[in-house]
Amino acid sequence: MTARAAFNSVAVPLLALVVFLAFWEWLVWFKGWPTFKMAAPSDLPPAYSRHWDLFLTMGWQTLWRTVAGLLLAVVFGTLLGMIMGFSRIMRDALYPLLVGFNAIPKATVVPIVALIFVGQHDFNTVLLAFMISFFPIAVSVSIGLSTLEPEYRDILRALGASQATIFWKIALPKTLPEFFGALKVAATLAFIGTNLMEIVSPHGRGLGALFDSGRTNSDFPLMFAVLIALAFLGIVLYYIVVALEKIFAGWAERSPG
């Protein structure tokens, strides 16, 4: 049964991928699209092999800046969520601001950030990844904390436990499932932030810059190859979060049926 489950968890997604690639290849062939309209999966391996070293260095640049922004978002988002989760007044004060900030298209923030911190490309990219991804974390932590049933507090408070103890023993672990749910969203959002900066304000760094150079050179297979590489990095980061979730909040998972 477990062997079968393991087979399923690997083979099923792989099979879905193969089916998807086959359909894509067929669609391009069937429609007779030229590569400048839509590249086919068979165009991608040459694109990768031609620029393999670029993919490695720029992929790494994109990855570390995304992860740095995400880590910042985790720290800041959790703190903000704690403040809003514990204080009603702070929640009322900060929510509209936060929603307003989140509603601003981040593409419009790029030129502003690029102007404020001219030339600080690494910093700017991390900043944008952070700005786009802290919102779901802050909201989920604040909701997790503010919806904690009073009885959960009372069982410890009645024994004279401090607020800090209640937070560590009950509020924090109880919020972890919501936190990881938000982290999955934030992880993919952070890639969008990194690439916005890399594409809109390119400094020759990161996969976004590689995409941009593909665009200027009309190298369409390269552009598609970058998109697939980004998707791959996104999937890797997502499953790292899933693995962390299994370790720290695996108890929240119920066996089906």
């Binding site: 009885e151 009372d154 408070r157 024994l159 004279g160 009950i170 929240a252 119920r254």
Partner: protein
């Protein structure tokens, strides 16, 4: 009687010592958007050491407020709450609580849930002794073999049993039970009543039980206190003489029927559905 602040007189202190829990003239109101909402007004209650008092009353009459006062989770606007001859001014480690919601922590095993209070309360027990005590309590309530299960793997009644063990693990002087069996089906509830008697035999405690179930109140408690409708005061006190170990059959005797009748009538008065005759004691 009440002489304001100051230390109580020696004989007064002695009288308070006899009653493990003593509530005198407690008044309390919640601040709501539409002004203060008085919930308790002139509440009197005393529980002797080893006693078990059930508190019944109409819905929303402030019964849960009473438990929070005894637990020190809130302070009354007026009046005094005494525990063990000491004025209650804040939470204290000598209280054990169980609610209608068993509030077990899903990320801990049943054993670790039961051990939780010992992580807060300073205890003389070593880690091993504490675990032994937890296992003993779990066996006492019939949860032997479930120590390593997660709360979600247990039924509602079993979770409530585990919650009871957690309330008892640190050997509290006072056990406060706020409708612990309220969400259970009738048969499970009766099982738990029997368990309560077994527990009380092996692990004596002084208890306050908040309940809506009149049968439960006379089956478990040796005194039943009826609260009036909001704002609640002590309306009626019924003594239930102890007659050896109780069995469910005791609920179907003429005496039990009479007590239930008295209580039902008192509840109707409290709800304002029956006229109060003078001199309810």
């Amino acid at each position: 009687m009440r002489q304001g602040g100051g230390a109580p007189l020696p004989d007064q202190a002695k009288a308070l010592m006899q009653d493990l829990i003593k509530i005198k003239g407690v008044r309390h109101a919640y601040q709501t958007d539409s002004g203060p909402l008085p919930v308790l007004d002139g509440l009197e209650l005393s529980v002797p050491e080893g006693g078990f008092v059930a508190v019944v009353g109409p819905s929303g009459c402030g019964k849960s407020t009473l438990t929070r006062l005894v637990a020190g989770l809130m302070k009354p606007d007026a009046g005094e709450v005494w525990l063990h001859g000491e004025r209650v001014r804040g939470p204290r480690a000598t209280v054990g609580m169980a609610f209608q919601n068993p509030v077990l922590l899903e990320w801990r095993s049943i054993l670790k849930n039961v051990l939780l209070p010992l992580e807060i309360v300073p205890s003389k027990l070593s880690r091993k002794q504490a675990e032994e005590r937890a296992r003993f309590l779990l066996a006492l309530v019939g949860l032997e073999g479930f120590e390593d299960k997660r709360p979600s793997e247990l039924s509602g009644g079993m979770r409530q049993r585990a919650s009871l063990c957690r309330a008892l693990i640190h050997q509290p002087d006072v056990l406060i039970l706020d409708e612990p069996f309220g969400a259970l089906d009738a048969f499970t509830r009766e099982d738990l009543w029997m368990t309560m008697h077994q527990v009380k035999e092996r692990e004596p405690f002084t208890g306050v039980l908040i309940t809506h179930d009149l049968r439960e109140s006379i089956f478990l408690a040796d005194q039943v206190v009826v609260l009036s409708g909001r704002p609640a005061r002590t309306q009626y006190v019924l003594d239930v003489p102890k007659a050896g170990p109780r069995s469910l059959d005791d609920l179907y005797t003429p005496e039990a029927a009479e007590r239930l009748n008295i209580l039902r009538h008192q509840i109707q008065i409290a709800q304002g559905r029956a006229p109060a005759e003078g001199g309810a004691s």
